[in-house]
Symmetry: C2
Subunit: 359 residues, 2 copies
């Protein structure tokens, strides 16, 4: 039986870029898609990284991903734009749209871009963090296929709809909050499935809306729960946040929304109704010095971050600032390599054989 | 013993306006402050309405509220501004800043305004909803004095830091999500205190960070918990959202942040450190037609809203769209009046005697 194996970032980078080129992506887009996809592996969000590479390829095989898209702005004002991603990989559409937002922020202080006709875009942080080097706050969100039941419902109406906000500091590392608007992201549930373990109460419900600890319940008609878990613990707030992500990503752009967002697995049939095009994202960039001198803001951010790092901890715990665990993971994995599960390696080997690329 | 009594909106309006005028507010500002304050009573957020009127007056008596402020923009770009509220009532600063955001959105598509040197601004929805009549999405958030312990901490570092997003529709009523970034808002805890009831697990912790059901635990060194409740249920997400509100409201404006936000009760001493000025808010306005024709967007919003209203319910429950309960409450209270608790009526009578205003 195969064991978990360690690969260097460069090994995975070369392989992934070649696969994207093999399906027809122009080299610059293959490079962008590779950087975004593997940022998940570096940051420890293993569910959203190279483990999904074969899934993206299957979407291309199903003609749902266009490897040579013509991305274009179809509507704009000085501070806003809507981008038609022409069925691009979301891994490509995200950076394109984020660049538009950053350019607009340079001109008028902030930029806000909603994207239609796209596909899964990897981790939200990969896009929002592009703002940081420009001394801007970056915002990134996306809708996703329906796995989540709103409060008081047994119907899956929303995706895990993540939000990322990235904020630059001076000498401290940036604040990077990247969160699914559910109690737990689907990736966390998949880890429990592989380990054959139960989910905590508050993560999922069964097909009848009863509380459940079955990590496989989504395959049996169950649903993920909005952040909060149940009404008494504020699930209506998680539901509202997921709804805002859907509205900004899809209703502002003209993408599919709510239960009609196309599924990631290519074998899952498309929803019968298509109120818009593809899936939707939303990006924002705010120039810090559109509000205050950047040096003043970043000095205060350092003070803010140190205040939280030094807040009185609960027992032996350490108070974390959003982004700390992922940055520590990235440091470690850049140095020691990225461990991959046997199933992921097998999948990559099959991909490599199909396209004549050596891992 | 006095019973709960019903007052008409107009009775409370006239009384409140006269009190604000009695402390020196110019009439237009008194009218604005009254509208914002009482919108909480209309919408059923009783903790943030007229029950707080005497608290605002005490802040004025303590010279922390300036009844004749000179509100001004101290920094701006085409899509952004920072407003110095000159120690105004937040009830006045909020609408001023929201108007700036709306004007900027008219010009360049969106407007984003961060406010320093302000005070408590009532309910977040009162401000965000100003965008609706302009076919804009409205966003409103504020920091607040520290009651919330971040994940893995026993120190109160953040306020309940609410976020409101208001979205216009066509024939359906608007989507209005207004949520504290904690499991439960402090007002909910106050209701339990009055009823002498326990809080559910996940709302608060004690001074040592142990889970607690004591609704009075904040007076004993305890803290409210971020949305999610504990790490396993995503409290790091609620903490991150509350942090984003603090950063947008205070670090972008130059207001006080984190544990240094001034307390609402005038008798609580000011924090020893004052890294900025007053408390901070953040407002946004996005013109819908800066993205898509407003009619297309609003038609899709109607479809979105009806989709959720008709989602398969859990048993006899009804699936709600954010804003539904508050709107229903407003309809009811405009028609039947607003019930006030004896303690609130007593407080108002004392205020009325002090300033020679009849209730």
């Amino acid at each position: 039986m195969m064991q978990e194996q360690i690969y260097s970032y460069n090994q995975l980078y070369n392989f992934t870029q070649k696969i994207f080129e093999a399906i027809g992506c122009p080299q610059p887009q293959a490079v962008t898609a590779t950087r975004v996809l593997l940022s998940a592996d570096l940051r420890g969000i293993d569910s959203h990284g190279i483990a999904r590479l074969s899934g993206y390829v299957r979407l291309w095989e199903a003609k749902r991903v266009n490897a040579t898209p013509l991305l274009k702005i179809i509507h704009e004002t000085p501070s806003t734009a809507v981008v038609d991603a022409d069925s691009a990989l979301g891994l490509v559409a995200g950076p394109f749209a984020m660049e538009v937002a950053i350019e607009k922020a340079k001109n008028v202080g902030t930029g806000w871009v909603s994207v239609q006709n796209s596909n899964h875009y990897g981790i939200a942080a990969a896009h929002a963090m592009m703002a940081l080097e420009n001394d801007m706050i970056g915002i990134s969100m996306t809708n996703a296929s329906p796995l989540v039941a709103p409060t008081f419902s047994i119907q899956k109406m929303l995706g895990t709809n993540p939000i990322c906000v990235a904020v630059p500091a001076a000498n401290q590392p940036p604040f990077v909050a990247d969160l699914a608007t559910t109690t737990a992201a689907n990736g966390k549930l998949e880890i429990l499935q592989r380990k054959n373990e139960n989910a905590p109460i508050g993560w999922v419900q069964d097909a009848d809306g009863n509380s459940s600890t079955d990590a496989n319940i989504l395959k049996k008609g169950g649903a993920l729960l909005p952040l909060g878990g149940d009404r008494e613990h504020g699930s209506h707030k998680g539901y509202a946040l997921g709804a805002v992500v859907d509205i900004f990503s899809a209703l502002l752009s003209g993408a599919n929304y709510a239960p009609w967002v196309p599924p990631f697995p290519a074998y899952v049939p498309m929803p019968e109704k298509q109120p818009g095009k593809g899936i939707g994202h939303f990006f924002g960039a705010m120039r810090v010095d559109a509000f205050r001198p950047a040096a003043d803001f970043k000095k205060d951010m350092d003070d803010w971050i140190l205040g939280f790092k030094n807040a009185k901890p609960l027992g032996q715990q350490k108070v974390l600032v959003p982004g700390d665990p992922e940055r520590e993971m990235e440091r470690l994995r850049r140095e020691k390599g990225i461990p991959l599960l046997p199933a992921v390696i097998e999948d990559m080997k099959n991909l490599g054989e199909k396209f004549g690329v050596n891992l």
